[in-house]
Amino acid sequence: MNAPNPHVLDPTKKPGSIVGFGTMTTFIIAALFVIALIMIEFSPLKMIQVPGQVAEVLSFFWPVDMAYGWDNVLPAIIESIQIAWIGTIIAAILSLPLALLGARTLFPRIARIVKFISATARAFPEILLAIYFVPIVGLGPFAGALAIGISSVGMLTKLGAEVVESIDFGTVEAVEATGGSRIMALRYAVVPQVLPEIIAHWLFRFELNIRASAVLGVVGAGGVGGVLLNTLRYRHFEKAAAVLILTIIVVLLIDMISGEIRRKIIKG
């Protein structure tokens, strides 16, 4: 990545207006911010109270009820991981052909349609999809996995298509010049080149999906989110603390492992 150019001082440049574009933007943002603060009734008085209230709730978090953590929270976290895994697998299988079809350089006409579909799929947050899947396949983790899978397809298709578009086209031409068909060109020239990066994107999506699946429990689609919602609703703060601690540890661990694998794959 090249560093952005440092500011060049040009003595011949005429001074601009006193209120520059940056200052204007800052003022507009500040004005919007103040309006928004007033509209959601976030008064200065409330702002002073917030740290105290947060500290008060945090003080209830101790002692952490780890027994509840091992018995009830860990299975829920594992369920979240399973949801994320199945969702990622669904998305990976669906998105690989779509990514190839969505590459402008390979299939100029189909690519436009594929890109439009993937943009629409990306616009839905997982949790809204889950709201539809829960009544269709019933309460539980399966609905969550489907929601995660569908919403990941859009993003993986887009990223995958970008990877395919950025490859060296020489090998594709080489395969076709020796009489290979389009399919053979995909198999021997395109896929080997793009696969490492695409797999890295899958892993990254898996990391994101773990966070997404953790919240799906809120609408009854399985996983740890429902546990947290219930413990907080009934004010079992020691149990909620166990949820938070275990979630943080597990997610950190998975991020570390997945990040390490991604680095290895990209290096080759």
Binding site: H7, I29, I86, A123, V215, V219, I248, V251
Partner: protein, 265 residues
């Protein structure tokens, strides 16, 4: 292929079959285990399709008469996103600077801040929303606070990486001219990465708009609260309307943000 009779083809690089077997085995095992764990069954899917199609029939056509009642909650969603982005955007500056390896004053600060940032990042937005809704009460303020934390997590991670890739000549020049650490950050480091900051802040705003749509599901204000009540009452025509309206609004806001980003960078 006869023409190539005399020439020998270069040997294929040897494949590491063991590694392949282990990776494939692991992937299959993981998938089967997860599939069982979540009760993945094609059977159930087919059986439930009937119920599903009834649901789809019920949720169409969307109930457009409900639209006017969406305006206020939607504006609340936008306000929450604005407050969250601005507060989080300001707070993320020191977090990002201290987490950049080349700018952080010492190893201990860097290590602590880096881990603080990573821990913030592990919890999803709705978890923060639940926590703040419990602490400060249900309503948009909880949502704005949750999004502030979420924004800090997003921007500081991305921006600290941009700060690590800046040209270190300028900061060194400021230092050797007798500037303090703060002056170095203010006059040489931040200006170099300012464009990145602006584009990450806009990106965070887009994420926040999306996130604030669903914050209401846990009682943290915005349009999600209406969504939750309509969903609980099985008013699926209204749910469809809300989701469609949200979709259109998100796409419009993303277009605006994209335009601004292109103008600024």
């Amino acid at each position: 292929m006869n023409a190539a009779g005399n020439t020998t083809l270069p040997t294929k690089p040897p494949r590491n079959w063991w590694l392949w077997a282990i990776v494939l085995g692991f992937l299959t095992a993981m998938t089967v285990w997860s599939g069982y764990g979540i009760g993945f069954s094609a059977n159930e899917l087919v059986c439930n399709i009937a119920g599903g199609s009834r649901l789809l029939e019920e949720s169409w056509p969307p109930d457009f008469s409900f639209l006017p009642r969406l305006i206020d909650p939607f504006m609340e969603t936008v306000y929450i996103a604005i407050v969250g982005t601005v507060v989080g955007g300001i707070l993320s500056i020191p977090v990002a600077v201290l987490a950049a390896r080349n700018l952080s004053p010492d190893k201990v600060t860097w290590f602590l801040d880096r881990n603080f940032m990573n821990i913030l990042r592990t919890l999803p937005d709705l978890f923060w929303a639940m926590l703040f809704a419990t602490a400060v009460g249900f309503g948009p303020v909880a949502g704005a606070l949750a999004l502030s934390v979420f924004t800090v997590a997003v921007i500081s991670k991305l921006w600290s990486e941009s700060l690590e890739s800046i040209d270190m000549g300028l900061p060194e020049a400021v230092r050797s001219a007798g500037g303090s650490w703060l002056q170095m950050i203010q006059f040489s480091a931040i200006p170099q990465a300012m464009q990145h900051y602006v584009s990450y802040a806009l990106y965070a705003f887009e994420l926040n708009i999306r996130a604030s749509l669903v914050l209401g599901l846990v009682g943290a204000g915005g349009i999600g609260m209406i969504l939750e009540t309509q969903r609980a009452n099985f008013e699926y025509e209204r749910v469809t309307l809300i989701i469609l309206a949200v979709l259109v609004a998100v796409l419009i806001i993303e277009q605006i943000s994209e335009t601004i980003r292109r103008r600024l960078t």
